[in-house]
């Protein structure tokens, strides 16, 4: 067992809870058919992070989270705006916003690094994530916000299900679709902004996309999918962070994504619902049953023809 410092233990706990929140919200995005939206929004958060840093003058997580949230929300609003007011389709709109905002973010980042001279701002770590760079206060903020997201998901679980499966019918029952949409973007952006320090803007979306897809291979109930996706996300978050602490200066995001991908591959092959292995086995047994049935038929026919 590796001996972890006190700080590292806290960091591990926070990436575990972050992973759970991302896995849960990722399920919402999955059934809204908006997995790519999370990618666009996490890239769109970068300029906000840098502007938040510039405004605060120091590396202050609250300021940068606020900046990230504002710029991600702005990105979401622009995607919506482009889609509804022009012929541009949603995927293209997301592509535009993703690249423009990310480009702007990188540009600002370069400027800040120049201005700071030799003074390393540590902002680079927001691109690929650096969980080890978190201080105690960061851990607290992250964990508290992730728990808030989980609470919003749990309290209105029945409403989320209705909203995701059939929002038109939900609207008829009196569920405010506009409110639910707002709440959905809110939790999505919240998960993204609290995740970018440890996972990074580029790979944050993987933590939202991969766990739900993997969970789908194991369960046939929505509640089961959400819980499992949360656990897979939490596991990937914690394990990835643990591995990244083994080397000095290793980024966290890539390891988290690799662990998540590993879990996905296991699900893809061994998943009990439509996993490749189970599908193969089912097909084989079905084929065997069919051949046996046709053999029975043939022998039956032969008997019959003898009688004739």
């Amino acid at each position: 067992m590796i001996q972890l410092s006190h700080n590292a233990q806290w960091v591990l706990l926070s990436t575990f809870i972050l992973g759970i929140a991302a896995g849960v919200v990722g399920c919402f995005a999955y059934w809204k058919r908006q997995s790519l939206m999370s990618d666009a929004l996490s890239h769109a958060a970068l300029p906000g992070v840098v502007i938040g840093f510039m405004a605060a003058g120091v590396k202050s997580l609250p300021a940068m989270i606020a900046g990230a949230a504002i710029s991600a929300l702005l990105g979401a609003a622009l995607i919506q705006g482009i889609r509804s007011s022009s012929r541009v389709k949603e995927d293209a709109a997301m592509g535009i916003i993703l690249s423009v905002f990310f480009g702007l973010g990188i540009m600002l980042l370069t400027l800040v690094n120049r201005m700071g001279g030799g003074n390393q701002s540590g902002l680079d770590s927001f691109i690929f994530g650096q969980a080890a760079s978190m201080v105690r206060q960061d851990v607290w903020i992250m964990t508290a916000l992730a728990l808030l997201v989980l609470m919003v998901a749990a309290v209105g679980f029945k409403e989320w299900k209705l909203f995701l499966f059939d929002s038109a019918f939900g609207g008829g029952l009196g569920l405010s679709v506009r409110w639910m949409n707002g709440l959905y973007v809110f939790v999505l952006v919240l998960v993204i902004v609290i995740g970018i320090q440890s996972v990074g803007v580029i790979l944050m979306s993987a933590l939202l996309i991969i766990p739900p897809v993997s969970a789908r291979y194991w369960t046939n109930s929505f509640a089961g999918m959400v819980v499992l996706s949360g656990l897979l996300g939490g596991g990937a978050g914690m394990l990835g962070t643990l591995i990244s602490t083994m080397g000095k200066g290793w980024p966290t995001g890539p390891f988290i994504v690799l662990v998540a991908s590993g879990l996905f591959l296991v699900s893809l092959f061994f998943g009990t619902r439509k996993g490749l292995l189970i599908v193969q086995l089912e097909q084989r047994s079905q084929r065997r049953r069919l051949t046996r049935a046709s053999i029975d038929m043939r022998s039956l026919k032969e008997e019959y023809s003898h009688e004739l």
Binding site: R33, K158, E159, L162, F169, G172, L173, N220, M225
Partner: protein, 245 residues
Amino acid sequence: MQAVLKVNGLTASYHRNKVLDQVSFEVKPGTLTAIVGPNGAGKSTLLKALLQQHPTLAGEVSFFGSPYPKVKARIGYVPQRGSVDWDFPTHALDVVLMGLYGQIGWLKWPKKDHREKAMQALMEMGMEDYAKRQISQLSGGQQQRVFLARALAQDADLYFLDEPLAGVDATTERVIMATLNALKNKGKTVLVVHHDLQTVEDYFDHVLLLNRTVMAHGPTADSFTKETIGRTYGGVLRWMGEKSG
């Protein structure tokens, strides 16, 4: 008798095309009305505009003498089967339970009697054996019956159904029509977007012929004539080699 639904001058557009133009009609309680018209006549848009799921440009709509938001709970809506993703991980009973969410109360969990009520609705549709079946593994007709069971569980006074008989098997068609007639006999009001002109006279006591605006409306015997059908379908029928009124 007071009208259950009053529509006056309803106008709506879709992608800058006016699809509903000055639609006005009234529906009496205890009637079973078919909404019929050619493709693109605005049938589905009409339902959505009535239920405030599609923006309207002009016109007034009242249900039981009140605006829609006040009487939402008394109105049931069965959307087109294709409007949802049937791959969603859930079973039939759970979908029917959604019809009871209004009665359960927001942010509250369903109780045992809610589940029993949902099961009852499934039974009425002859679907009790499929209660725990994944909805993705149901046939089209069975999915449609689950949708109707969900509306039944809601226990509304006025029902809107969007193409419930499209692409379903004969058994389902029979079960659905029996259910709609039972609703009517209980004094409920039902409006159905319908595509099959052959069955209008057998299935519905009222008809609303729609092509952007109301072409004819009233008891089927009076309003569903060669002349009105010809007017509604105009060009299409002539193209098919039939004389229009």
